[in-house]
Point group: C2
Chain length 323, copies 2
């Protein structure tokens, strides 16, 4: 038995040493900076060494770990759900915002105010207990297909980012999602898809209420906001949930600005990364003027702040996983 | 190198097999139930087997992991801090509640309404940024001594519970604190004292605000409640933070009732435990009528609900760690 354990141990050790941990990253300067950073903070002899318990890595989700065009995928879920609920709510046909959703009017949806979208989302996400909600999302992810690629949404994750997550974990990092999206939504797939367990997902959320039905307790989702984990809310969410300053942060939009700023202001080493969507051949190209995942301030200040700007076009030799 | 790793591996494996993981637990029925439960859920051949990622164990803090008499230790911290702040607030001398604190009037403090105590706590916990608050707590824990035992507060943790935490982790459980106390307060000592990292502490909290001072970002503690993680709030806190149903839960008061109920309602095996303070020789004896850590409903319903009632007097051969 001991012999077998030793063999397994040796095998794991040699694979880690020999394999390229980032095969979908081209041999560019950005790849070098990332790998050099990880080597420095994990080398006990290096002055930048950081003990394993402090190796917290935080990742935005939409546009950082998976795609977000033509619209945030959780939005597409909410719209599908509203269409599903519509027959029971004939009054919706008279309301502009619900009408746009029911009629698949994407330009109108994109032009909506944040508050209107939020109202739609709350309608689509409430009215269920937490277990039922997970089931509804799990079912949707299994059957829904992306309008242009025809892929399952969970197949529209970025292969280079899956490799980065795995590489960081192999180097003692603890990986977290810190997203403006819904915690409960992301948790339904974060473990099988990203290797990130539910307890390491920090997102926006509605309130929940402990209730009981014939002695069977359940948690009711109350269609009222509890926390918006976006912009200056991200460092707050990190504080409330994780309680440590990240060592590494990755985002793709101005909604990640404060999270990257907070990470960079850490005492000692840190690495802040922005994913730039500049590949309209293999994915989408958008930044300053996009309604989804707008990257304006971050794009302008990244260089001065020492943040890495990763080009999907230049730095990645593959975008999505092979099916 | 490989040889050495193998030796270390063999050593760890044999220690885990040979040593008694719970030396401070007497050989009672309760100890048997706990160990039997852990063996069943970790045995891949057993029908009660639970995969490691689902082995979530949640622990209340006050009265479960450390003592709480003559008053919750975080309360004693808050009162010390108010006395420290008092010279800058001469108006406090005229206010009944502050006056009681400044004059160490414990009976008056114990008779206060919840809202009054909360007001005092918010005053004591606000007015600092999150880093400053951690420093203040860390300093207090280093110098403050318990009024009757003369011990440091972090030496008033329960040795049998330290062993249980460690035993569960050695069996693939992830251990969390789920406390009515302040998340930020508990996080200052949870890792060195309990082996529980900050990100696995779920507690009550005030709001925080991302701010900046000359380009240096910080998180301001806003003296306004964000979440009270007590009673029916505990399952909600578990949902928002952990996102999975616990497999094992330990508490000591009616503030843990819903957490234990929620755990027991899990599909498949689960274990819910109440620590009963019944040892006035080595610790304190209190339950139904106590102002601190009241255990009334739980005491009455534990047997019917299949919850384990651990007697500090009968089940533990030692209370506090040897110094
Ligand atoms: Ca994003
Ligand atoms: Ca307690």
């Amino acid at each position: 038995m001991q012999r077998i354990l030793c063999l397994i141990f040796a095998l794991i050790a040699s694979t880690a040493v020999l394999g390229d941990p980032l095969p979908s990253w081209r041999d560019t300067e950005n790849r070098k900076v990332i790998m050099d950073f990880v080597q420095r903070v994990t080398d006990p002899e290096h002055e930048d060494f950081v003990k394993a318990s402090e190796r917290i890595a935080v990742f935005d989700n939409d546009g950082t770990l998976w795609a977000e065009q033509p619209f945030y995928f959780q939005g597409l879920f909410a719209f599908d759900r509203i269409r599903e609920m519509a027959p029971d709510h004939p009054d919706w046909a008279e309301q502009t915002s619900f009408k746009a959703v029911i009629e698949h009017d994407i330009p109108s949806i994109k032009a909506m105010k944040k508050e209107t979208l939020l109202d739609l989302a709350l309608t689509a996400h409430g009215d269920l207990n937490t277990d039922q909600f997970s089931e509804v999302v799990t079912h949707w992810l299994a059957v829904a297909r992306h309008p242009t690629t025809g892929r399952a949404y969970t197949d529209m994750v970025y292969q280079p980012m899956l490799e980065l997550l795995e590489y960081l974990r192999s180097q003692g990092f603890k990986t977290f999602i810190v997203s403006g999206g819904g915690t409960g939504f992301i948790r339904t797939f974060s473990e099988p898809v990203y290797g990130i367990p539910p307890e390491q997902v920090v997102g926006s959320s509605v309130q929940a209420k402990y209730r009981s039905n014939n002695g069977q307790p359940f948690l009711e989702k109350v269609p009222q906001l509890w926390f918006i984990n976006d912009g200056p809310g991200k460092p707050v969410g990190i504080h409330q949930h994780i309680g440590r300053r990240p060592l590494l942060a990755v985002g793709n939009s101005d909604g990640d600005f404060e999270m990257l700023e907070w990470t960079s202001a850490r005492q000692g080493p840190s690495l802040s990364i922005l994913i730039h969507h500049d590949d309209d051949q293999r994915e989408w190209a958008y930044d300053k003027n996009s309604g989804v995942g707008r990257l304006n301030r971050g794009l302008g200040e990244a260089a001065d702040r020492g943040w890495l700007l990763v080009s999907m076009k230049q730095d990645w030799n593959r975008i999505f996983p092979q099916r």
